[in-house]
């Protein structure tokens, strides 16, 4: 790009002689066209297709199918359906709750520690972040090694040192298995919440806390009256993002329990996968996928409502 060329453009633009390309360049079309194309091909088309498939009795194998509502009726009336919703609800609810809580506490501790010039904040931060960078299936494998229920299982060994006489059935008891899977997921997801809150704390007007201190507010008062209200927008965004993320996840569960024992850890995303790729029931799997999609969209709407409200408040 020579200077002469730039000068030429300068003069020509002054003269308002705009070529077609330049006009086009000033419309949003070329700027967002690639984005639009790829999202239409890889999101919009599959979404329409999955809705269509959910109204068929198609199988993954073979091309014959007819349109029917039976996928939905058999999904909603199948004996495991309500239980699957409970399992998913438990998994998502407690994962999100503890990820948020731990993320918040850890972020606060690291932030305060940094301000107090403590050593160890960096190590702590890195330890938490590392868990976030590990693919879910590997997390599942690593935790399945930890949860081993034989006598060479490490967690049960620690518990026996702590005086627990009967080995805990981490993965073979239905309730325990669900808790175990949730714990592993909290381990995985806490880093994300921590980053969010930590980022929020970095923007914190430090004098606010100092002012509160001078006003004689105790640590808990400062937390609930000052810190949490200011971080509220960030916490809410974080809440929705990780809720959706947890609804959509199944790689870790698959590697850890495969959905068992029975179907006691079969979350909705895993059930969709099983239906389609192990049992080949494309129609029914698609119906469950549509259900997940509806959950996804509902949460997005909530999120957007909140964003709009937030930006209006911001302007006011």
């Amino acid at each position: 790009m020579t200077d002469a060329r730039v000068d030429e453009v300068k003069t020509s633009s002054k003269a308002q002689k705009r070529s077609f390309i330049q006009v086009l360049g000033n419309t949003p079309i070329p700027w967002i066209l690639p984005l639009a194309l790829i999202l239409i091909c890889i999101f919009l088309y599959p979404i329409i297709e999955i809705v269509r498939l959910s109204f068929t009795n198609a199988s993954l194998v073979g091309d014959d199918y007819s349109y029917t509502l039976s996928s939905y009726t058999s999904l909603f009336t199948s004996p495991g359906f309500i239980k699957m919703l409970w399992v998913t609800g438990f998994f998502v609810g407690f994962s999100v709750l503890f990820q948020m809580a731990f993320g918040f506490v850890i972020a606060l501790m690291i932030d305060q520690g940094t301000k107090r010039n403590l050593v160890g904040t960096v190590v702590t931060r890195t330890a938490v972040l590392s868990a976030w960078a590990i693919p879910g299936v590997i997390i599942g494998i690593i935790w399945s090694l930890l949860y081993s229920e034989t006598e060479s299982g490490i967690l049960n060994y620690f518990l026996s040192l702590a005086g627990v006489t009967n080995p805990v059935a981490f993965l073979s008891d239905p309730i325990n298995a669900l808790i175990s899977v949730t714990v592993a997921n909290v381990w995985r997801g806490t880093a994300f919440s921590m980053i969010f809150v930590y980022a929020g704390l970095q923007t914190f007007p430090n004098d606010v806390i100092e002012a509160a201190k001078i006003d004689g507010a105790g640590a808990f008062q400062r937390l609930f009256k000052v810190i949490i209200p200011i971080l509220k927008p960030i916490i809410l965004v974080n809440l929705i993002v990780i809720t959706v993320e947890t609804f959509n996840t199944f790689d870790m569960v698959m590697a850890l329990t495969g959905g068992g024992p029975g179907r006691s850890t079969e979350v909705i995303a895993l059930s969709i996968y099983n239906q389609i790729f192990n049992n080949f029931h494309l129609g029914e799997g698609a119906a469950a996928a549509v259900l997940l999609l509806v959950i996804n969209i509902a949460l997005t709407v909530v999120y957007f409502r909140f964003l709009e409200k937030g930006s209006k408040e911001g302007r006011a």
Partner: protein
């Protein structure tokens, strides 16, 4: 002065807290490492052995020679690199347009992108699987990476748009008066200012793509093309021998590069993520 004792007490509390957190997050990885350097009797020893007296690093040699872990790692790097590149190439112009231009249906388009961000990959993977199968695009990196890119785009676009929004428009105007075209404006003026935002997007999309499982699991079935996430599942399901120590070694090998990157770059990663998260 009376505060020093109290401060010391509080600091001790912090240190204990840090220790608990570090143990909770590091112990699982340590245990996987410990298993990976044991031989078969040690694996099943009761009580379990935390530190094997004679670590069997040859397990790693075995895994490197006899499995495709290195291929999987190479594949993962290739896929993640290409994904980040194309996500940035597509998201930056789009984010610029969403930030600086007014047009019809802009709000609607933004909501649509947000919805796509929330859609589970498994939902899109199923129809794509059928579609790709029909056109012989399974086991094809171009189609695979296109899907990865699509999954990374919504968050990248929203994030960068927020970042562009935080940059004063006066900067644009000054550049335009200087005779910059819009492309030059974005490339020469805005991008340098947005570097932290771009770094955050790179990290977010990188981590997301690195962990991506459903998409390659469904769209690939050629062992040579697997990224680590799928490759490891493949190793796990091999049941024709005792494999716990090898499985552990393979897991360690496949998480090591990223952990090292995170440790070396953690200061920048945290910096980029926090500055990005706040503006985005």
């Amino acid at each position: 002065m009376r505060n020093t004792a109290k401060e010391r007490f509080i600091n001790t509390g912090y240190y204990i807290g840090y220790a608990v957190i570090v143990i909770f997050f590091v112990f699982p990885l340590f245990w996987a490492f410990s298993l990976s350097v044991k031989n078969v009797p040690e694996l099943f020893a009761t009580p379990p052995i935390l530190f094997p007296s004679d670590p069997k690093f040859e397990n790693y040699a075995y895994v490197l020679q006899n499995t495709d872990v290195l291929t999987y790692l190479g594949n993962s790097f290739l896929i993640v690199f290409a994904t980040i590149l194309f996500v940035l190439l597509i998201a930056i112009p789009a984010a610029y347009a969403f930030s600086r231009m007014e047009f019809r249906y802009k709000g609607l388009a933004l909501i649509a992108i947000l919805i796509f961000q929330m859609v589970s990959p498994v939902v899109v993977a199923i129809p794509l699987y059928r579609f790709f199968a029909q056109f012989h695009l399974l086991n094809n990196y171009i189609s695979l990476i296109a899907v990865y890119v699509a999954i990374g785009l919504p968050i990248a676009t929203w994030f960068l748009r927020g970042y562009f929004d935080s940059i004063p428009k006066e900067l644009d105007e000054a550049a335009i008066i200087d005779g910059c075209s819009r492309l030059q404006l974005v490339w020469k003026v805005l991008l340098p200012v947005c570097a932290p935002g771009i770094a955050s997007v790179t990290i977010l999309v990188g981590v997301q793509s690195w962990s991506q499982f459903v998409i390659p699991f469904i769209l690939l079935d050629d062992n040579h093309l697997f990224p680590v996430s799928v490759g490891i599942v493949n190793l796990q399901s091999t049941t024709n021998a005792i494999t716990t120590h090898y499985l552990a070694a393979a897991s360690i090998i496949s998480i090591l590069p990223v952990i090292i990157v995170f440790i070396l770059l953690q200061r920048y990663i945290v910096g980029a993520l926090t500055s990005g998260a706040v503006k985005g």
